[in-house]
Amino acid sequence: MSSLNLNYKWRSINFMCKNEKFDIFWKELLKESKRKLLFILGKGLDHRMCMGLKKILTVDTNTKIDCVLINYNEGDNSPSHKHDDLITKNYKQLLSLLEQNGINIIEKDIEMIEDESGRKRSGTRNIRELFMKDLFYMDYSDIIIDISAMPYSIYFPAIQILLIKLEGYNMSNTIKKNLFVVISESPKYDANINSKEIVQAQFMFGLEGNLDTHSQSHLPKIWLPILGEKKLVQFKEIQKLVDPIDICYILPFPSKNPRRGDSIFLEFKEIMLNDKQKRNLNNQILYAAEQDPFDLYRILLNTIEKYENTLKLLCGCQCVISALSSKILSLGVLLTVYSCHKNNKNNVGIAYTEAKGYNITDEVLNNPNNIESEHFAIWLEGECYYK
């Protein structure tokens, strides 16, 4: 692959595996004894927090691994404190897993809020600063970031900076460093985690492109929300911020539950059908494969390109993308914006909302193990892109 193509590298080359292939992949990859792994994960209430690491350790115990745990400080008033016992349980489980396998742990604290009210969120900025300044990950051949227990506001900037740093390194070095994203995905579990106290929407710090630039504010905005269940409040908040002239809804299909896209449509139908600007819905809904971020990546890039070409005569447009979907699909959003910025297309950016905390329903609290998860590994940067 030529270096030029690297800018949109995931369009033609990408690598992702799941479930059985997840095990086989790690077994094969970790055969090489010279590898030094860094496993980054978030300390959270999600019972999937340690699943990815556990899985990898079952296929290989010889590779040298270090672990970085991101601790988010949500403040005293966060609704998540209700589940402090779950966080402690997950943390203890992690410590015991690491101890059994002789793995070192480094903990990094991230302040998520600016003041007691919790309305002013600074997690995105702080995680960015941490990864920009503290290059703790550059000593490793392979970096794995497990986003199963991380919010968007943390893993989007973290992966963005990791990509910038590792791509920079790999361009000028023969021995490449690898970046993998690991996700334990479970739509049922996700549907039982409710965001609490959703704050005002904003453009994501560092991934906003020119969206927040007032000198460009005269350009019309096109909004591409990737829809998921129970995101109506977030949708309305972001819509208020973006104030788009056109909305292009993206629904998950193909999906494990073939009617999932329809169900989501039904949830949003009032908004979609009551559109004051009376847009033609037939042309406004796109579908992206539920478990393939690269499919979404291609769809988003093509759509943005089409809008840009259409509106070129009217001085162009700004494209705003919002991930209101599952984690695996949200990755497609990040990759799209990352690629666009890399190509100096700064008219593309992310709008999002954060919640002051989360609440897990009793249904999954009582029986967390009854909910099945699928394990995904996504290779974002490294050897496979340079061969």
Binding site: S117, S122, N126, K133, E197, T213, S215, D243, E270
Partner: protein, 649 residues
């Protein structure tokens, strides 16, 4: 969301999707009365506008943007806009050629992130903050110049000539003797540079700009230097900063210090109130300045509407009437024509008969009450005849009187009735002296006892709005939806009966609580607290002698307790922290309203239930009735729900 396309109540006037024409046609000119008190200082001192969400801050600011003012001036002779034009003209906004004020509007959301940039020192962070703000003000100013000159922004900025601006330091780097386009490019570069510094810690621009001093940028906003077609474009500017509450305390302090110290006029700052302390923007700084320098004004929209209920009633009714005209499919001149505003004469006749049977025997042996009844009934008949009101009101008024007398009877039984009123020698003046709130309590009691609808009619809808325009529109939207459904296939319109209105409003009341609580932390504790306030209020309201007529719908905590809650130190108890958080959630989502009162020699903070929630608990809609409680009581309620033990502290 409305089930009908284009329900005229389903959008906010400040919504950017609403055209300027539509916005102006919806704006109620009487709302500008709130500026009358500031007529002399309006353009002299900085003004801060405070309110809870939904009170109309952004709508208010939008009126003063160049887009609105130009549209208004162009359509000034049109009947729809004429009144608003005249009203605004009183504030010296227009000259003979058009708007002479250039409103520069900008939102302050997201500036707070600058202060969390720990890799920069405080001075640098402040420089970035001001540079970003000033560059955006310049961009907004240039856009305003284009609108006033009726040219395209930004493509025709080069047609605006900028002369040599006096008082401008030539070394500041600010372009002078140039075109609007040059100034736009300079401001865009400054904005980009400030954003880059904030995100990356360095500027990505090749030629770095020197950030000029902020006062120098203010010199830019002076009239005689801007020409289009050799003509002056504006006389003075008005700078409007919205969402100032999203700034950090440090940013609010440096901004207010800057404005006050430099005696900057024509700045309006709007701030959302959601904390217990109601801190004002300029108070962040005012502690350190002399009294003489303290020249700023505060407009609290909530207090203003609360203290001017009649005006609020008039304004929102007028807003509803303006909106209804936006729906040509069902031509109506007034929104109230959709609603049945009274119960039928037959209903009141029946009630009056029932009340007579019940109450007259009770008061037969009490001369004073009997006298009131005998003297007042002919009086009512005479007055109503004189005012030529329809006869159906007679039975309503008679029933109200009779039930009022029963309340007085219950008070007498409990020994709380004024002795003058039970004196046998009662005179006309004393009869008239029966407080109207007892009458209101009487009407409410009749409705609840007889299972008649109480929450209906345009005046109650206005009360249920809780002095909040957004909430009023929300209720009207649902009522109008039902009205449209009822009339979908009819040739002749039917109005919404009181039963239907009440059932819709009750549904909204439950929905309001669920919708707001669902998204909040401490959902169970919060629900417990609201339920407890509702239950306590109901018990007090339902007392036969109506001791707090027309009833109770709030609780009060002493300001000493409020201070304890707001205190932040190591000794702060976790229970206090939790209660503060719950109250904060309630206030910021309009579940509770706060009012400061002085009673029994002490200062209190009354936490009233939102009027829409009063419907849920069957409470009166008037303000004024509350019970004092301790923090301990509130804490217990949040944990265990309502218990009578500990009531009142």
């Amino acid at each position: 969301m409305s089930i009908y396309d284009n329900n005229p109540f389903s959008y906010k006037a400040s919504n950017k999707n609403i055209s300027d024409n539509q916005f102006l046609s919806l704006f109620e000119p009487q709302a500008l009365d709130l500026l009358i008190n500031f007529k002399n200082s309006l353009w002299q001192n900085p003004i801060e506008i405070n309110s809870v969400p939904g009170s109309g801050k952004t709508t208010f600011l939008r009126l003063f943007t160049p887009e609105s003012l130009v549209t208004l001036y162009q359509n000034r002779n049109d009947e729809i806009y004429n009144e608003l034009f005249k009203k605004l003209s009183e504030f010296n906004i227009f000259n003979t050629k058009g708007p002479k004020k250039l409103g520069i509007y900008t939102s302050m959301a997201n500036y707070y992130l600058i202060d969390s940039n720990h890799s920069l020192n405080e001075a640098m962070r402040n420089t970035i903050f001001f540079s970003l703000l000033m560059s955006r003000l310049v961009i907004s100013f240039l856009k305003g110049l284009c609108i006033l000159s009726k040219i395209n922004y930004p493509s025709e900025l080069s047609d605006i000539k900028i002369l040599n601006i006096a008082n401008l330091n030539p070394e500041s780097g600010i372009p002078i003797n140039c075109t609007g386009e040059d100034l736009f490019l300079w401001a865009s570069k400054m904005e980009k540079q400030a954003l880059d510094l904030n995100i990356y810690g360095f500027s990505k621009e090749k030629d770095e700009l020197r950030f000029p001093h902020f006062l120098e940028i203010l010199n830019l906003f002076v009239s005689p230097y801007y020409l289009y077609n050799k003509r002056l474009i504006f006389e003075t500017v008005l700078i409007m900063l919205d969402e100032v509450d999203t700034l950090t305390n440090n940013q609010i302090t440096i901004l207010s210090r800057f404005l006050i110290k430099n005696r900057v006029s024509n700045w309006w700052l709007s701030k959302r109130i959601e904390a217990l302390d109601k801190a004002e923007i300029f108070k962040h700084y005012s502690g350190t300045i002399s009294k003489k320098e303290r020249d700023f004004e505060t407009i609290n929209l909530d207090d203003y509407w609360y203290n001017n209920k009649k005006l609020f009633n008039k304004i929102v009714k007028s807003i509803a009437n303006r909106r209804i005209k936006e729906y040509p499919q069902k031509p109506l001149s007034r929104f109230s024509l959709c609603l049945q505003n009274n119960l039928s004469t037959d209903t009141w006749m029946g009630i009056y008969d029932n009340l007579k049977k019940r109450i007259i025997p009770k008061i037969e042996n009490i001369d004073s009450l009997n006298n009131i009844y005998k003297k007042k009934i002919p009086q009512i008949e005479k007055e109503l005849k004189k005012s030529q009101k329809s006869t159906k009101n007679i039975y309503f008024e008679k029933s109200k009187l009779l039930r009022t007398i029963e309340i007085l009877y219950d008070r007498k039984i409990r020994g709380s009735f004024q002795t003058t009123l039970i004196d046998n020698k009662i005179n006309d003046e004393e009869i008239r002296g029966i407080p109207s709130n007892i009458g209101n309590a009487a009407v409410m009691k009749i409705c609840f006892e007889e299972q008649l609808p109480y929450y209906f009619g345009i005046d109650r809808v206005v009360q249920i709005a809780s002095n909040n325009i957004e909430q009023f529109l929300y209720i009207c939207e649902k009522l109008f939806d039902e009205y449209l459904t009822k009339n979908l296939l009819r040739e002749h319109s039917v109005v919404l009966t009181p039963d239907i209105q009440e059932s819709i409003i009750k549904h909204l009341s439950n929905d309001f609580l669920q919708r707001n609580i669902l998204n909040l932390a401490n959902e169970i504790e919060l629900q417990n607290l609201v339920d407890a306030i509702g239950k306590l209020s109901k018990i007090e309201t339902d007392k036969p002698n109506a001791p707090y007529a027309p009833g109770v719908n709030g609780v009060a905590i002493s300001l000493i307790d409020v201070e304890r809650l707001n205190r932040e130190n190591v000794l702060t108890r976790s229970d206090d922290k939790k209660l503060r958080s719950i109250l904060h959630s309630c206030l910021s989502s309009n579940i509770l309203e706060q009012r400061q009162v002085r009673c029994k020699g002490s200062d209190w903070l009354v936490l009233y239930l939102n009027r829409l929630l009063c419907v849920r608990f069957g409470l009166p809609l008037d303000y004024g009735g509350y019970r004092e409680v301790s923090l301990r009581t509130l804490q217990n309620w949040t944990k265990y729900g309502f218990t009578m033990r500990g009531k009142g502290g």
